[in-house]
């Protein structure tokens, strides 16, 4: 079953500028762990923003788990993001005044889930990423790798269809980066969650099932999976 379909996505910023995305098309089956690679300026981030419903395409189509997500109001887009997508960012983006579990529970907060259930689910997810004993620590009390694990717990806590990870190991040293990568792998395998990861690190890309390469806004023909 296909979780993500991207069909002929077109996007350009401003008039007279070239297309940032030019008829980009690909699809991901459920449980896939795909790397999106390409040089900077190739349209990786734009593609991720479109799939993450943070931006609208000029034309083309995105279908997430059977739901066509074109032309949404900002409010509808927010609800769909909350329900379907988990984000992992390069610089973690944890809120410094919140504890680890409160950070992990943020998507549930915005879903309107009550505090008790929020806490229970966030703690379970922190346990899943190996941070059960750090639940009440604040981000500044955590190492980089631990912070990214909290962020991963946050991405997973809402039970999304799709995880979008933007250079999740970009701010980590190679050992820690590899640990985070292994965690993502493990979660992908055990929970069956679909992951699309932007990276420019070919070592990391090689750890994925599939590598989608983008250049000048076009998806290159598929190479053999890594």
């Amino acid at each position: 079953m296909v979780v993500l379909v991207v069909k002929a996505l077109q996007k350009s910023y401003g008039q007279g500028q070239g297309a940032v995305l030019d008829k980009a098309s690909f699809h991901l089956p459920r449980g896939a762990f795909a790397a999106l690679v390409g040089p900077s300026g190739s349209g990786k981030s734009t593609l991720l923003n479109l799939v993450g419903l943070l931006d609208g395409a000029d034309s083309g189509e995105i279908v997430i788990d059977g739901t066509r997500v074109g032309s949404l109001s900002p409010t509808e887009a927010a609800w769909l993001r909350n329900e379907m997508i988990g984000f992992v960012f390069q610089s973690f983006h944890l809120l410094s005044r919140l504890t680890a579990w409160e950070n992990a529970a943020l998507p549930l907060f915005h879903r309107g889930v009550g505090r008790d259930e929020r806490k229970a689910r966030a703690l379970a997810m922190l346990d899943r990423v190996g941070l059960a004993d750090r639940a009440c620590h604040r981000p500044e009390q955590l190492s980089g790798g631990q912070r990214q694990r909290v962020a991963i717990a946050r991405a997973l806590v809402g039970d999304p269809r799709l995880i979008l990870a933007d250079e999740p190991t970009g701010n980590l040293d190679s050992v820690t980066g590899l640990q985070v990568m292994n965690l993502l792998r493990e979660l992908n395998r055990d929970l069956g969650v679909t992951i699309l990861m932007v990276t420019h690190d070919h070592d990391m890309a090689r750890l994925c099932d599939r590598v989608i390469e983008i250049r000048d806004g076009r998806i290159l023909p598929q190479e053999a999976a890594g």
Partner: protein, 391 residues
């Protein structure tokens, strides 16, 4: 698609946490609103107390009261007035009086004092009571007796020669025996006599020391609920002659006029307070804009995680309202303290007008709403892509 969202209570709890984290800056924003609403609360509360005091001057006499005063030196005939009031179905009691300022002396001390010729009816009219000796009685008729107001007695007393019942005083050259002193009497709204500083003598013999004959004025008590306006017109018609015009005032119209004046004063005070509250509101807006700017990344993150623009707007709006409401409530406290402080220097007793307190807090909260709207809307328009990019 189902509707859902974060509850207001949850958002308020978040807002409180944020305000606490911002600490000093929150306090500064709060201070602006605090000063504004404290000014409103204090000014309006003091105005309220002043109004209460003014209305209090009718407590003894009641509001079913007329005051008739002749213009100039012409005088009214007490007998005619008595008959008029007795024949008036709404008339209850008449207390005629004549006033003038005369030299009054006791021993070597001499001073200009208001001398009032009154009938015994005056005591019941304005609630006089004797502090020492007795008040004037019917039997005094035209005897040379005097009753001194508290302050008048003190003014005439010399060290070692206190003036009281039994003392002899000279009024306008005539000797009068003091038969009593009055207890402190609050000024009465319609009465031109300040009883505490006056000397009272029987009206029947006032003619001896006063330039005019008869009464210069009369207080008339009507039945409770009487139409004092109509009665005023009635007595004006009955007593006025071309040679001797009279001025009739009634308590209810006076209260009306007073209330109108107070309302105007209140309006001016509200305007002044509102200006300071506006300044406080700008402070709230300033702090909220700074907060929004500083929390751009957080706003972008929350948006990415599924906060709707409406939720983000509400988040910051609640923060602004809590800030302003906090300022308003503290302003209530400070305003009351200022009111209390002011009453130390004013001839008023401290009192609290609860309506003003609710008004103070409510207006402050609406100021937060008004001035928080723009920062909140700008927060909800932050693009998550730009907010989360780089750094």
């Amino acid at each position: 698609m189902k509707t859902r969202g974060v509850g207001l209570v949850e958002l308020a709890r978040e807002a409180l946490t944020n305000l606490r984290v911002q600490g000093r800056r929150s306090v500064l924003a709060l201070l602006g609103v605090l000063i504004g609403s404290a000014a409103i609360v204090a000014l309006m509360n003091i105005a309220h107390i002043a109004q209460m005091e003014a209305l209090n001057s009718f407590r003894q006499t009641g509001v079913d009261l007329l005051s008739v005063q002749s213009d100039g030196l012409a005088s009214l005939d007490p007998v005619l007035i008595d008959r008029l009031v007795r024949d008036d179905p709404e008339g209850v009691l008449a207390a005629p009086f004549a006033i003038t300022t005369l030299d009054v002396s006791a021993g070597a001390r001499s001073t200009g004092i208001m001398v009032a010729g009154v009938t015994p009816a005056m005591a019941g009219m304005v609630g006089l009571s004797a502090a020492g000796g007795r008040l004037l009685r019917e039997v005094d008729d035209c005897s040379p007796v005097a009753v001194l107001g508290q302050k008048a007695a003190a003014d005439l007393s010399a060290p070692g020669a206190a003036v009281g019942p039994g003392s002899l005083v000279r009024i306008g050259g005539y000797g009068f025996t003091v038969v009593g002193t009055t207890a402190a009497t609050a000024p009465q709204a319609l009465s031109p006599i300040q009883f505490d500083t006056a000397v009272l003598i029987p009206l029947a013999c006032a003619r001896r020391v006063m330039p005019q004959e008869g009464a210069t004025g009369v207080l008339i008590r009507l039945l409770p609920g009487a139409d004092t306006g109509a009665a005023a017109a009635r007595y004006t018609a009955a007593l006025s002659t071309p040679q001797m015009p009279v001025r009739v005032e009634d308590a209810k119209s006076m209260i009306q006029a007073m209330k109108k004046q107070m309302a105007m004063l209140g309006g001016v005070l509200i305007a002044i307070g509102s200006i300071s509250l506006l300044v406080g509101g700008v402070g709230v807006m300033n702090v909220m804009l700074m907060t929004v700017m500083e929390r751009r990344r957080e706003i972008g993150l929350r948006a990415a995680l599924g906060a709707t623009p409406g939720e983000i707007r509400m988040m910051f709006l609640i923060e602004a309202v809590i800030l302003a409401l906090g300022g308003g409530l503290l302003g209530d406290v400070l305003g009351l303290a200022l009111t209390w402080f002011a009453t130390l220097f004013l001839p008023f007793d401290f009192a609290i007008n609860w309506v003003v307190l609710f008004l103070g807090a409510g207006v402050a909260a609406s100021v937060g709403l008004m001035f928080g709207l723009y920062p909140a809307i700008s927060a909800s328009r932050i693009s998550p892509i730009e907010a989360l990019r780089g750094d």
